[in-house]
């Protein structure tokens, strides 16, 4: 909302310290987001008198103009226009001036003679389209002053306010002025005198068909109007507030709206069919041509203003029809002011994609009892240009039972004080809220019964009044205290575990990515992942159609992106939510971890898994017989906790890599963190380290390919018994020496006793047992 300083100052004297006024308004909750200086003179362009002009023999298109800018110094300017004479007052742009088009004025010499600036046309000063010659200013003005003074161009200062939903009244200057006056402790300029209508009575009839949508509709007939231009100050203020001045009738209508927050519409009574109005819901498909020259099809949710012949002349509360415009010949108007149900206006404006100054106000809620003041103001302002206007008796005021009434709210000083932490008694509360229009009636119980002003539909509860008290008392005066908590701060165990997980991943050299949680509809299928995804009803862009059910596609896109920027071998992880569909109230959202290692092998992913499992105390079974979707069938496994799959480890299927245009091998680890982080890991128990020397036993076993290393590992551990303190697979060999369908697995067993030095016999015994156990798996000791 644009609030014009001079306009505000008419309603409440605020002085001319613009920054102070802006701060004051901001601290009332009406954030001033910008202060603009609108109109006025271009800085650096001053009045000067033409002393004489002189042709130069070598210059055909320009002549020399000598001017006096009031300082007695004769200045010389080259000029291409010839419309001035000695004695004329003209605008002189002095060197250094930046013109509205951005051009900087420099002393540019012509024929070796420099120029002390530039004489300006109307267009060059942004005053209009006239570029036929230099602008000749009215005489009788001092020299050397901003040219605007000669033109009556006042600069307007405009505050751009971020008016929030709870303050519809501040969509008018009056609402802001009322708050400011109360804060400054000064009186608001009195309301305009009530206009006494005179005979002969003339009426514009009103029939409200849908009273739930239009709860009040008033008309008054005004004659004796002469359509013409508005006074300069009014045009200037309207322009500054962002409205285009048109003629005195339309300008006054807009001015009243911007001041009183009461949209209104003067209809030419002579062209108003049947001389009256019908307010009704539109028929499905009914058409209307709005003021912006667009033909619009209505639905039954829209409200129409029709003339008494039932011809639509406006969309109620939103925009008038083309056929309702004021003409130059208009002499008599029916001034209409109404109150429309806000939610329906919002819905209708949204549906039609049609927002206007009027709809913005009606959808927030205008004062249902504000027509009187607005009408008087309309007449007062129009009388400036139409001194002979007549306000006719016979005004119509139709209301429905849906018209809002003032709210009555009981306010307890103790409740106000308790919430604000400062004591406010009845008198203090009254002193604060009465100046902004609340009337108070103390009760016997020590509370106050507050009648809220009808322009404040937001105030319906005690807490609304608490806010009014705080706002006008000043938040900054309420102090700063810290509550005395008896709760210890901290992360939950799960949150601590998540942090540890992240630290371990980072320590493994893997960086954290944050891909977009939206995917294209076919991304999951491209990743070889089955199942449906939850669709966005209103996606922002193509490719953002569904919610991810897996972190995998996002990370594969990240790998592809990096590859395409010549970044290979990138390792990334993400900890984030995925949202598979479900039949429950909400999708089956859970937290997941995915690790992708570009240019790596399945074994690298398994190594990451092992390190995480060790750090986090996770035990999950690696089941290579259960190949997860979208992974390399011979290099991937499901990680299971009991019967439940909790993860995937291995390599991306080459088809999937192709689909995402990834050329490197990609090792992958995925875990369901909602499951894994929820479990309290067992705390590692201390095992005493032996003081006795250890012995290493190296065994190379030729094992059929059908037997997994995990099985061999298990057999060794079980058979070696308590003496085995560490087991490493240190070499895998496939080749002729191992034979077909088998490979050689070389293990190093570290044997150690807690209570003695091992003998050769001890080592030999372990060797025998291991050999026996592994031979059952089909393994033979390689000599």
């Amino acid at each position: 909302m644009k609030i014009v300083h001079s306009w505000l100052n008419d309603l409440v004297p605020v002085g001319d310290d613009i920054d102070a006024v802006a701060d004051l308004i901001t601290n009332l909750g009406l954030a001033v987001e910008d202060v603009a200086h609108v109109g006025g003179s271009v800085a650096g362009v001053i009045t000067a008198r033409v002393l004489r002009t002189e042709r130069h023999p070598d210059a055909a298109k320009v002549h020399r103009v000598f001017v006096d800018a009031g300082d007695g110094v004769e200045r010389h300017v080259w000029c291409g226009a010839f419309n001035m004479q000695a004695g004329d007052i003209i605008p002189l742009a002095t060197p250094g001036t930046v013109m509205p088009d951005g051009r900087a004025i420099e002393p540019k010499p012509i024929l070796g003679i420099s120029s002390d600036g530039m004489l300006c046309s109307s267009r060059e000063l942004g005053l209009g389209d006239d570029h036929s010659g230099i602008l000749i200013l009215p005489g009788d003005v001092p020299l050397g002053v901003p040219y605007g003074e000669a033109l009556g161009l006042g600069e307007e200062i405009v505050y751009d306010l971020d008016v929030l939903r709870n303050r519809p009244d501040c969509y008018g200057h009056l609402g802001v002025a009322r708050d400011v006056a109360a804060k400054l402790g000064v009186e608001l300029t009195p309301a305009p005198a009530h206009v006494d209508p005179v005979e002969p009575a003339r009426s514009a009839t009103v029939k409200i068909v849908d009273g739930d949508r239009c709860a009040r509709f008033t008309t008054v007939v005004i004659s004796g109007i002469v359509v013409g231009p508005s006074p300069d100050w009014m045009r200037r203020r309207l322009s500054a507030a962002g409205m285009r001045p048109l003629n005195n009738v339309v300008d006054v209508s807009n001015y009243v709206m911007l001041e009183c927050n009461q949209p209104n519409h003067p209809y030419d009574l002579d062209t108003l069919g049947g001389g009256g109005f019908i307010v009704r819901r539109a028929k499905e498909g009914e058409e209307i041509v709005t003021l912006d020259d667009v033909t619009r099809a209505m639905s039954a949710a829209d409200l129409l203003i029709c003339d008494a012949d039932d011809v639509p002349i406006g969309i109620g509360g939103i925009m008038g029809a083309k056929n309702s415009e004021i003409r130059d010949s208009t002499t008599t108007v029916a001034l209409e002011m109404a109150w429309f149900e806000p939610n329906a206006i919002m819905a209708s404006a949204n549906k039609l994609g049609l927002r206007s100054e009027a709809s913005a106000r009606f959808e927030r809620g205008v004062d249902p009892f504000g027509m009187g003041r607005a009408g008087s103001r309309f007449v007062e302002l129009l009388r400036i240009t139409c001194p002979d206007l007549v306000v006719h008796a016979g005004g119509v005021d139709e209301r429905s039972s849906d018209l809002p009434r003032p709210n009555v709210v009981a306010v307890r000083p103790a409740a106000v004080s308790a919430l604000l932490g400062t004591n406010f008694d009845v008198d203090a509360i009254r002193a604060i809220i009465e100046p902004i229009g609340f009337s108070c009636e103390p009760t016997a119980a020590g509370a106050v019964t507050v009648l809220t002003p009808t322009w404040r539909p937001d105030c319906t509860m005690e807490v609304d009044l608490v806010e009014e008290v705080a706002r006008h008392y000043g938040y900054e005066r309420l102090g700063k205290t810290v509550p005395k908590s008896t709760i210890p701060g901290g992360l939950t165990a799960l949150q601590h575990r998540r942090r540890r997980l992240r630290e371990v991943l980072l320590g493994l050299g893997i960086s954290e990515a944050m891909p977009h949680p939206f995917l294209a509809a076919d991304d999951l299928a491209k990743a070889g992942l089955p199942g449906e995804a939850v669709r966005l009803t209103n996606p922002l862009a193509a490719g953002d159609d569904v919610l991810r059910a897996s972190l995998r596609p996002g990370l594969l896109k990240a790998i592809a992106f990096n590859e395409s920027h010549r970044q290979v071998g990138v390792s990334l992880f993400e900890i984030g939510h995925v949202y598979p569909p479900s039949d429950d109230v909400l999708p089956a959202e859970y937290e997941a971890l995915a690790v992708v290692l570009a240019g790596a092998q399945a074994a690298d992913a398994v190594a990451v898994w092992r390190e995480l499992a060790s750090a986090m105390g996770w035990g999950a079974r690696l089941d290579q017989s259960n190949v997860p979707a979208g992974t390399h069938p011979a290099r991937s496994a499901t990680l299971s906790l009991g019967r439940d799959p909790v993860g995937v480890v291995g390599e991306i299927h080459p088809d999937v890599a192709d689909a995402f245009e990834v050329t490197e091998r990609v090792a992958i680890l995925e875990l369901n963190l909602s499951v894994l982080l929820a479990n309290e890991p067992s705390v590692p128990r201390w095992k005493p380290t032996s003081r006795f020397p250890s012995s290493d036993l190296d065994l190379a076993l030729v094992v059929p390919d059908s037997v997994t290393a995990e099985k061999v590992d298990k057999a060794i551990r079980q058979s070696a018994g308590a003496l085995l303190v560490d087991l490493q697979l240190f070499d895998v060999y496939r080749g002729a020496a191992a034979g077909d369908g088998a490979r050689s697995l070389a293990y190093r067993l570290r044997l150690q006793s807690a209570d003695r030095t091992l003998t050769d016999d001890d080592v030999a015994a372990v060797r025998t047992k291991v050999e026996a156990a592994t031979s059952k798996l089909g393994a033979t000791l390689r000599s």
């Binding site: 608490v466 705080a470 938040y475 709760i487 992360l491 942090r499 980072l506 493994l508 960086s511």
Partner: protein, 359 residues
Amino acid sequence: MWRWRQQLLRLKSHGSDGKARAMIDDIVVQVKAARDGALARLVAAATSDDVRAVEIDVLGKKGSLTDLKTGLGKLATIEEKKQAGSALNEAASTVAEALAARLSELRRAERAVQLEVERVDLTEIMRQPQRGHAHVVTQAWQRLEDVFVGLGFQVAEGPEVETDWYNFEALNMPANHPARSMHDTFYVDHGAPGSTVLRTHTSPVQMRVMQTVAPPIYMIMPGRVFRNETTDATHLAVFHQIEGLVIDRGITLADLAGTIEAFTKSFFGPGFTSRLRPSYFPFTEPSAEFDIRTPSGQWLELGGSGMVHPNVLRAGGLDPEEWSGFAFGFGIDRMAKERHGINDVREMYSNDIRFLEQF
């Protein structure tokens, strides 16, 4: 040395049994010659190996002094044996001392040579272990958590896909509430049309906390939020917020101001201050924007806050006559953006390793 002393002891106990008689003077002269010869060789020794050669030649099994020892038995009297033995011992220890000194001198010199030979240019680094880089948003998120934990807050989380009830209705924004238009909401096809949204703020977690945790409540709720608005250098459709909720007996607007102030000083630094400014949010009343002032005096808008609206307390199952509280919230991404001077927030989600590894 050690071995030689053993031999010497043996010599002492058996020497008197020898038959040959030698001249004591002759032995003493030979001892001196052997000693002086050894000392001269030590002075001339250029390497530790040279020193070891002297040791072998003089004090070794067949060394010159060792040989002389065996000759002690040939002396006639105990007195002579004593005299020669003492001369021998003196010479041997003189040689041993000189030997040790020369050896240590030469080792020092050799070590010095070795060290110089091993000289490397420590700026010639060809590869180094790489740490992983936590995402800038995670870094900001954790810093914020840590500061609030220090101020006595716990951390709560909730789902990112929410019901309309949790996201709007319970937060005093019933259907058709005009304030809903302040939220550009993503809806998803789940359940009844319009029933399920991507949460537009972290506030639904407030409601879930109120429903499950008995007051007093001192919680922060960080998380991902969604707004259906076009992405540009300063706006994202998916971003992160952190929200605080305090519910206790007798909580006041001044407590909100004081908590914001304490946060401001601990997160941004002691030179920063804060202020509350009236504003409007449907779920709080009185509502406030909060701004922080930098040490250079510049005010920056940070977030929204206010006293929890009685309707919200009721929706959370709490009696507003018994409990009061405040809530506040602001963006996490912006903390990262400002801290690192990132002028395009989209960059933060590019997953470009060249971006990630900067932080």
